[in-house]
């Protein structure tokens, strides 16, 4: 280690001065080599809006799941939640990359994740609410993954081949996510009096936000069927879905929690906007 700079030292000792161990691989575009063409019968603005909303849902949910790391009830659950978050982060990267290809800006994934303010995010408000109780997090994950799975099953037949491929891949991942959340809802709902009380409270807190998801893609039938099935096994009572409240995350109207989440998520990228990693 002849150099004082720790990263330069790391790069030493590799053939041909290969510095990727210290500086990364330099491959930044997760869609590299995938055809960027947009089919003639697809409206690029609609496609971009769809990719952006689904990318934002995934990024914000991934960030909330990552917050469970070091705080989950057991190590296995921490690993599970981080894995689910990683799948969603991967989906967000692909969707942002596609969005940048078709919205006319040519932006890369980092521009969407790190250099937009809360008003520019199109994620649902349910995703940004603080984690709170583990039971609330599980009720939220069940609803979000059931809705996303239903939507992706449909999008796997999208006329845009890139979105269709991202969705087809996502279906396999979301099936695991939904099952994980569903099993926790049953375990807690049908557990002790205390876990039942907290699971019911978590579900009650999620339901007022569900209408916002259905306004974007009406999967009410599929999602409510899952909630009825899981709720019954969990001995929970299913609150009615209220009319969607005024305002929507899909229009950039968020709770105060999103700006705080983004400040954390974006702090390093904004402090060092020219940095590469």
């Amino acid at each position: 280690m002849s150099d004082d700079h720790v990263y330069l030292s790391l790069a030493e000792g590799h053939e041909d001065g290969d510095a990727r161990w210290a500086f990364g691989t330099g491959f930044e575009d997760p869609l590299y080599g995938v055809s960027t063409a947009v089919p003639e019968d697809v409206d690029p603005a609609d496609l971009a809006a769809c990719c952006l909303a689904l990318g934002d849902d995934a990024l914000v949910t991934a960030q909330r799941l990552a917050e469970w790391t070091t705080r989950a009830p057991e190590l296995e659950e921490e690993v599970a939640l981080a894995n689910i978050g990683l799948d969603l982060l991967g989906q967000a990267r692909l969707l942002y990359a596609r969005c940048g290809q078709v919205d006319g800006t040519g932006r890369g994934e980092d521009a969407y994740a790190y250099f937009r303010d809360a008003d520019d995010f199109r994620s649902v408000r349910l995703a940004e609410l603080p984690n709170g109780d583990f039971a609330f997090s599980m009720a939220r994950l069940l609803v979000l993954s059931a809705w996303r799975l239903a939507h992706f099953e449909r999008l796997a037949a999208s006329r845009d081949p890139v979105l269709a491929a991202v969705a087809a891949k996502g279906v396999k991942e979301l099936t695991y996510h939904r099952q994980y959340a569903a099993e926790w809802v049953v375990r807690l709902g049908d557990g002790t009096a205390e876990s039942h009380r907290r699971m019911q409270a978590g579900l009650d807190r999620v339901m007022p936000y569900v209408g916002e998801l259905f306004a974007a893609y009406d999967a009410a039938e599929a999602v409510l069927a899952v909630l009825r099935q899981v709720g019954e096994a969990a001995t929970l009572s299913l609150p009615a879905v209220p009319e969607a409240a005024a305002g929507s995350g899909r229009e950039g109207e968020h709770t105060e929690h999103l700006a705080v989440l983004l400040a954390d998520l974006q702090s390093v990228a904004r402090a060092h906007p020219e940095a590469t990693w």
Partner: protein, 171 residues
């Protein structure tokens, strides 16, 4: 023409030998991530990779390694492309790859599940699906967590020899 054919075969052999960064006992060919290696009429070597999971952090490393080995072998124009469709499935892990996994203490995957509409399967007791313990061969095993140290693995334990082990989960 014969030279070009021999050349693309050589390029394919080189790309096939690149190890997976997270399961280094497997090559990208064993894992089924390397889909195709071809040569364009202009002489560019094109290698197609399909990611295992959307968020697989090893993807850029795989691309860098395939690129580095091919350029290192004298190919001047090399492109490593991402191919998303059809999505990767554990069914693409070769029989050689499955043998190497088991040899290294990781239980290989069974057949990938077909998409099944209908109710969410709710199994709260530990799953027991006759996954063979890679240490003692017993099928008296159970899942401890469906998520493990990498996206593609679950945690299991053997009830016969009491050893914990990893299992590449079906997708």
């Amino acid at each position: 023409m014969v030279t070009a054919l021999a050349d693309v075969r050589r390029a394919r052999r080189i790309a096939e030998q690149v190890p997976d960064p997270e399961l280094p006992m497997l090559t990208l060919a064993d894992l089924g991530v390397l889909r195709e290696v071809r040569m364009t009429p202009e002489g560019t070597v094109v290698a197609d990779l399909t990611p295992t999971y959307s968020g697989c952090p090893a993807m850029s490393e795989m691309r860098a390694e395939v690129f580095a080995r091919l350029t290192g072998a004298g190919y001047e124009r090399v492109e490593v492309r991402t191919v998303l469709d059809p999505p990767w499935t554990t069914d693409w892990i070769t029989s050689e790859g499955r043998r190497k996994l088991a040899e290294h203490g990781i239980a290989p995957p069974g057949p990938a599940p077909r998409p099944a509409p209908g109710p969410v399967p709710l199994v709260l007791s530990p799953r027991r699906e006759a996954v063979c313990c890679p240490r003692c061969g017993s099928t008296d095993t159970e899942e401890t967590s469906r998520f493990g140290a990498t996206s593609c693995k679950a945690l299991w334990r053997c009830r016969a020899c009491r050893e914990p082990f990893e299992h590449v989960k079906e997708i």
